[in-house]
Point group: C2
Chain length 491, copies 2
C-alpha cells in the first residue's frame, strides 16, 4: 500500500503535481481513457460505503446521492469515450508546399495539449458530481493535466474516501503517485496559496460569487496570470409569456414549485427569478404557485453556513415593504431545514433594489410583475450574466415578443423553451457556463465534454520530422481521428 | 456620403458599437463573408494611395508594404471563406429522447455566438496586417462582433485611410453605420476608458509587455472582467544542437543573420535568443554570424519611440562586462536607423542577469553559450512563455536530447524544426500565441482562422421549436455544415 498523501505544504504539492505532469501528459488517449474507466470502477466499488457517508455529511437523501454517484461515474466514462474516439484534440494539418511562389509553405500542424497542473475546488452542493471526482476533475484528468483537489470542508470524509478510490486507480494504472493529490486543509489561505503558486496552470471552482471572485483576483494579480474557471451561480431568469400563461398557468405553477424547491433549491440552476406581464394569467400562476409551495416539506440544507446565509438573505428581503409574500411552506422548518418561500415585487421596486437581483441560494424565488413589455425588457436589460434563461411561451408568444427573446438569448449560456432550468444533461451540446458573473469566462462550459477545453492550449508543430510528431498529427492518421487536412475534414 | 466618425466620447462610441452589434450579430455567414470580401476589395482599390502613406509613416520599404497589404486582404478573404463554409461555429446536436428512463432527454443543441463589441488596438510594426484592418479586426468582424479600432499613433494617416476603406464596405453592405468605428485619440487614457467601458466585451492588442499588462489589469479589475488577448512579444529561443552544428554551422549562421535583421528585427517572432553547447560548432556559428551581421545595412526603425528604446536597451547590455560583442554592422546608423548587433554570454551570466532575458525589439540577438546539456536545460527551464521555440538539429540530435526538446515544446505556442521563426503563415494550423507573457492567454491564437474563437461563446438551445433555432442548428442541416449529431460528425 503506497503512502496516500492527503495534505502537505503547497510548495511540495505543486512541485509533485508538476513532476507527475511531465510523465502523465505523454500518456496516450487510450491510456488516459483506461485510467478514467478505472477511477469509475473504483468509485462504483465503494458505492455502499460512500453513499451513507455523503448522506451524513450533506443531509441529501439517499436516492439523490445514488443518482449523483451514477452521474459522477458516467461523467468519467463519457470522458473516457471522448479520449478513445480521439478527435477532441482539434488536429489540423496544412501540408508543406515546397514549390509555392514567392515563398514555399512549410508543413504546419497543430493540436490541443494540456496546460499543466490544475487546482480544483470541490463544491458543497454536489458532494459527488461536482466535488473531488466530479466534472472539473474528470475534465482535468482527461485533458492530460494533473489534478490537485482542495476538498470541500463540508464533506471531508466523503472527499477523502473519493480521493482514496481515485488513488487506487492511479496505482493500478501505473501512473505517477502524485497524478492526483488531495488537500484537506480547510483554511482559506491554503486555497489562495494554491492559486498563487507559480506551477499552478489553471483553476476550477464552483461556489459563491464572493469566493469565486477572490480566486479570480488572486489569479489575475499573479506575475503570470492563469485562467480560473469559476462558476458562481445565477438567478436563472424565467419569462412567462402571456399566451402560454392564458393556456397553462396552473400546470406551469405546479412544475415551477417543484423546480424551485427540488433539493431544497440548492442548485446553481435554481429558477430564482420569474418575470411576467401583469394580467389574469400571471395572477392565476402566482396563486397556484403559492398553493403548491405551501405543501412543500422543509428539508435540511447542505450545511450550517448555507442554512444561515439563506435565513439571513430571506429575512432581509421579507422585511421590505415593497415585497409581497406569495406563500411559504405551512410546515415550519426545524434546525437546519430550509423554508420554501416565494414572493413577488413590482418591476420598478425590483430595479430600484439591487439586493433583490442577487441569488438567494435555497428554496426561494421572486416573481417580478411587469406593467408591460417595456418594463419586462428593462428588467432583462439590467440583469447580469446568467447560466440559464428560460422562455415559457407559445410559438405565437415567441414571434410577438422577439425582442424579449433576443434579450434572453444574450443573457445566458443555456436558453430553454418550456422546461425548467434545474437538471443539467451531461452531453456534448450542454453549456453550463455563461457571461460573467455566472462564470468567470463565458467562452467555456463546466459540464459536458467541451469542458475539457478549459485546460488545453493549441501547440503548433512546424517542419517536424514524422517520427517526432504526436500520433494525432502523423501522416496516414494512425489514430483514425477527424482532422482538418488542407482545409478539408476527414478521417 | 455618410458622416464618418473618427473620434467621439468613449461613452458614445461604445453605445453605438452595442447598438450596431444587435443588428450585425444576426447577419448570416454569407452576408458577413460578402462584407469581408468588400472590405478586401475596397482596400485593394486604395492600394496605390495606401502604400506611399504607410511608407512615409512607418519607414518600411515598398516591397514589404506591398506584400503586407496583400496579406491583409488575404486574411480578410480567408475569414470570408471560413464563414461561407460555415462549420467553424462548432454546431452540436443531441436530439431529444422522450422515452428515455428514468428521465426523458431534452433536445439540446449548441453553437458559437459573438460576445459583443470588441476593442482592437492597432500595432505599429504591421501598419496593415496587424493594425486597423489587420488580423484582430478581421477575426472580430468574422465572429459577428462589432469593431472599435484604436488607431496606432505612429501611423495615423494610414489608419484613417484604412478605416475609410473599411467604412465604404459597411455602407455598400447596408450594415449599421457604426459596425466599425475608429478612435484616433492618441492618449493612453482613452485606451483605458475603452477597456473599462461596461459595453466592451473583449480586447485585442499587439505591442509591448508594459502596454499589454496594463490593459490586462484594467480588464481584470472591472466589475465584470472581460478577456483581453494581448500579444506582448517574445525572445523566441532557438536551440542549436551539436550534430547539426557540426554539419552546417556556416549555413545556419547565414540563415539566422537574415532572420535576426529582417525588417530591422521588428517582428514579434524575431529570434532574440540563441542557445548552444560550447564547442567548435558553436564557435564557427558565432564567427560566421558575426561576419554576416557586419555587412547588414542599417535601416530606419518604425518610429522614434522604438528606435530610442532599442538604443537604450542595447547600450545597457553592451556596457556589462559579462557580455561579449560578436559583431555589429560595420555601417554606422544614421538618425532613426537600427544598428544590427549580436552578442554572446555564458549560461551562468544569462541566468544571473534577468534583463538579458527580456525582449530587445530590433535587429539584435544574444547567443548563450552553455557548458553542457544540464546548463542548457537550466536556461530553458527558467524562460518565460514564448510565441515560438526553434529546434535546429538532426534527427539524431532530437533523439539524444529528447528532454531538451520536451522543454522546448512546453515553452511556446509554435515549435519549429530547422527553420527560422520569422514569417508567420496565415492558415488553419497556425498558432501565434503562447503561454504568458508571450500572450495573455495561451489557449488562443491571434493568427489563423481559429483566432475567431477569442470573440465567441457557446450558446445552448434546449427544447427550441425548429423555426426559432439558428439555421446552423436546424434539422436537415440547411447550411450543409459539419455538425456533431448524437456524438457523430456528419455533413
Amino acid at each position: 500500500m503506497v503512502d496516500i498523501k492527503v495534505s502537505g505544504s503547497v510548495e511540495e504539492v505543486m512541485h509533485q503535481a508538476k513532476k507527475a505532469f511531465d510523465v502523465y501528459k505523454k500518456k496516450s488517449g487510450k491510456e488516459k481513457a483506461d485510467f478514467l474507466g478505472r477511477i469509475a470502477d473504483s468509485i462504483e466499488s465503494q458505492r455502499a460505503g460512500l453513499v451513507p457517508v455523503a448522506m451524513e455529511e450533506s443531509h441529501l437523501p439517499e436516492a439523490r446521492l445514488q443518482g449523483e454517484l451514477s452521474r459522477t461515474t458516467n461523467q468519467l466514462r463519457l470522458f473516457a469515450e471522448l479520449l478513445r474516439e480521439g478527435s477532441w484534440v482539434e488536429a489540423s494539418i496544412d501540408r508543406g508546399m515546397p514549390e509555392r511562389k514567392p515563398l514555399p509553405r512549410p508543413d504546419i500542424r497543430k493540436m490541443l495539449q494540456p496546460v499543466g497542473p490544475v487546482v480544483v475546488f470541490g463544491a458543497s452542493n454536489f458532494p459527488f458530481a461536482f466535488s473531488t471526482a466530479g466534472g472539473d476533475s474528470a475534465s482535468v484528468l482527461a485533458s492530460g493535466s494533473t489534478l490537485v483537489v482542495k476538498g470541500h470542508p463540508a464533506h471531508p470524509k466523503t472527499s477523502r474516501m473519493m480521493y482514496e478510490a481515485m488513488h487506487k486507480a492511479v496505482v493500478e494504472s501505473g501512473l505517477p503517485q502524485y497524478t492526483i493529490q488531495h488537500v484537506s486543509d480547510a483554511s482559506f489561505l491554503v486555497g489562495q496559496q494554491l492559486v498563487e503558486h507559480p506551477l499552478t496552470a489553471g483553476v476550477g471552482f464552483t461556489g459563491s460569487y464572493k469566493g469565486g471572485r477572490a480566486l479570480i483576483d488572486y489569479a489575475a494579480n499573479r506575475k503570470c496570470p492563469i485562467p480560473v474557471f469559476a462558476e458562481m451561480g445565477s438567478v436563472n431568469p424565467v419569462v412567462l409569456y402571456p399566451e402560454m400563461l392564458s393556456l397553462k398557468s396552473a400546470e406551469i405553477a405546479q412544475q415551477y414549485a417543484g423546480s424551485i424547491t427540488a433539493g431544497m433549491g440548492q442548485f446553481c440552476t435554481n429558477p430564482g427569478l420569474i418575470l411576467g406581464i401583469k394580467g389574469d394569467g400571471l395572477t392565476v400562476f402566482m396563486d397556484k404557485l403559492g398553493v403548491a409551495i405551501k405543501t412543500v416539506q422543509p428539508m435540511p440544507m447542505l450545511h450550517e453556513g448555507i442554512h444561515d446565509s439563506y435565513v439571513e438573505s430571506l429575512n432581509a428581503i421579507l422585511e421590505k415593504k415593497q415585497v409581497t409574500v406569495i406563500a411559504r411552506s405551512e410546515t415550519l422548518p426545524n434546525g437546519m431545514e430550509g423554508h420554501p418561500t416565494v414572493v413577488s415585487v413590482s418591476a420598478g421596486s425590483f430595479l430600484e433594489n439591487e439586493y433583490l437581483q442577487h441569488e438567494v441560494f435555497g428554496p426561494y424565488s421572486i416573481v417580478v410583475v411587469c406593467d408591460d413589455k417595456e418594463a419586462l425588457k428593462q428588467v432583462l436589460s439590467n440583469l447580469e450574466g446568467q447560466l440559464t434563461s428560460t422562455i415559457v411561451g407559445t410559438e405565437n408568444d415567441m414571434v410577438a415578443f422577439q425582442d424579449v427573446v433576443d434579450l434572453q438569448i444574450a443573457l445566458a449560456g443555456r436558453i430553454l423553451v418550456n422546461d425548467v432550468p434545474t437538471g443539467v444533461e451531461v452531453c456534448n451540446s450542454m453549456v453550463h457556463g455563461g457571461p460573467y458573473p455566472a462564470t468567470a469566462d463565458g467562452r467555456f462550459t463546466s459540464v459536458g465534454t467541451t469542458s475539457i477545453k478549459r485546460w488545453v492550449r493549441p501547440v503548433c508543430y512546424q517542419g517536424f520530422p514524422q517520427q517526432f510528431l504526436p500520433e494525432e498529427l502523423k501522416d496516414g492518421n494512425p489514430l483514425q481521428i477527424w482532422r482538418c487536412v488542407d482545409n478539408t475534414w476527414s478521417k
